[in-house]
């Protein structure tokens, strides 16, 4: 087993918290957009804390804390929040490109409105302080709601096969379309299936009819990590359908 949740209340519901650092909140909105499956999940989980969904001021004891956005260095509110989450949550999941790999916030040069106090940002996976506490990262900008649903199910069922790739991704603090070029195309593994192009939210990857490979436009990349995660040549611990 990878981890254990303690602190269950009488109803044995897994307590989730959503935390917002420096980001657009798109990941929390994606969570709310989990199609009709959301009510099913709410039978087993309780959203115990969220800046958007609950009125709570105090952070309660949590089983899983989902954190979106980057950590702004020197920003007192973030420092306090991260300390408190570390203390109160059993595990942390970095949700979305910003929290996981820096995402679009890698382009942040600080001193900008509306929050000029956020001058320098890093993904939470870069914080030594949270080493061991962050168990998984979820790529995407924002992650697809269906992905979040499947991830939550896997977390509740402790489906290690499903979770393993996202456990490994905790150690990547940067992602971009270059991953597709470096890890797949350069290594002679690309088959030209086009899946990475479909996974990319910004059209930074396009399919070249001439070479039958993806081409990468770095100017459009927001560093969300979806392309490499989606590519069938990157990791494959998923079941293959067998008929007959």
């Amino acid at each position: 087993m990878i981890y254990s949740f303690d602190n269950f209340d009488k109803e044995i519901k897994v307590k989730l918290g959503f935390f917002h650092l420096s980001s657009c909140s798109g990941c929390q909105i994606a969570f709310l957009d989990m199609f009709e499956e959301l009510p099913d999940i709410l039978d087993t989980v309780e959203i115990a804390y969220s800046n958007m969904l609950t009125n709570r001021k105090e952070i309660p004891k949590l089983n899983v804390a989902f954190i979106e956005g980057t950590f702004s260095i020197g920003f007192k509110h973030h420092i306090k929040l991260i300390k408190e989450i570390k203390e109160k949550a059993d595990i942390i999941v970095a949700i979305g490109g910003c929290a996981a790999f820096g995402g679009i916030r890698r382009l942040n040069v600080g001193a900008q409105s509306p929050q000029p106090s956020h001058q320098a940002s890093i993904p939470i996976t870069e914080l030594d302080y949270l080493k061991g506490k962050i168990k998984y990262v979820i790529p995407g900008c924002p992650p697809n709601p269906y992905f979040l649903y499947k991830f939550l199910l896997a977390l509740l069922e402790l489906n290690e096969e499903f979770l393993r790739p996202f456990e490994h991704m905790v150690f990547s603090t940067f992602a971009s379309g270059y991953d597709i070029l470096m890890e797949v195309v350069n290594k002679g593994l690309c088959t030209g299936c086009g899946t990475c192009i479909c996974a990319c939210p910004t059209k930074a990857l396009e399919f070249s009819k001439r070479t039958q490979r993806p081409t990468f436009n770095k100017l459009l990349c927001v560093g969300c990590g979806s392309c490499l995660a989606g590519c069938p040549q990157s990791f494959k611990p998923y079941p293959q359908p067998v008929y007959g």
Binding site: F35, G140, G188, C193, G194, F207, K236
Partner: protein, 301 residues
Amino acid sequence: MFGLYRQFTLGRYTKAFIIKASGEASSKNNLKALIKEAFRKDLIDGIIGTSLNKKEGFVSPVFIKCEKEVEKFEPFFFIHGGQNSLLKKITQKYSFEKLGVAGHSCVLDGINKMQYFGIGSNFTVTKFTLKIGIACIGAISLEGIKCLLKEKKVKNPGFNEIFLENNKIILKNKYEKFDFSAKEYYYYLNEGCKVCMNLSSRGSDITFVPSLRNGYSLVLVRSAKALKLFENPGFSVKKAEKSDIEEFESLAKNFLKKNIETILERAEFGIPSNKWDGNRFGRFTALWNNIYAENIEEEVF
């Protein structure tokens, strides 16, 4: 010694047929007949695939929305077209409930992976009702084909068909046929295809083999749904003979052996090969080096 058994080379299937469309005998027309039948039987209401644009000379992904549109479809089996790149666009633009896909195992893999994890756009909740796997000996690039033809001193080929016949790879234009041996073809194969271990699209509902023998192409039926295609079909269908199956099996084996050599060569240089996670690769090399085992393929691959 190492055995490549049929269950691994071809995958599990319940029935094997040979099919022939009416009209001009060609492998691409046989696939088109199969797709038309799927529309007619209401198994699909749209299908993605890749098609040769003869004017431009490119292979592009296409979304076919009805039986009528199948006419314009020009499957060019061994050049990839990135059909999965269409999924987001078509999900946003069109409404369909029974989507089909015609593609090689790696294309189906991309779909399987995205649907299993849910990575990507909203298409991941789309139901794929029919997966037509294209049996494959490895894809080649457009430039690769041009070089192959240059070696045969063909100047302006204007090719429009590619298929398998008598253990050879055939390129055809309006007037002529050019054949290539596995060795000639392998030289220009995509590197990614040189490590592929699923040439028969084992995870499909039905595998279409782009072969041609007396105008017939081989199909391997794997799911009950796909069997419906053969109930009073609009094409000619016969039970496949042993020799029909063995012909493709021997060609696939030939390519698989070459691919195993490539994988081992990569391993020696410390270059990863996609389809293997560490565990499986460990077991594979242990088997390769030590023992001759029966029926290990499900275990290992």
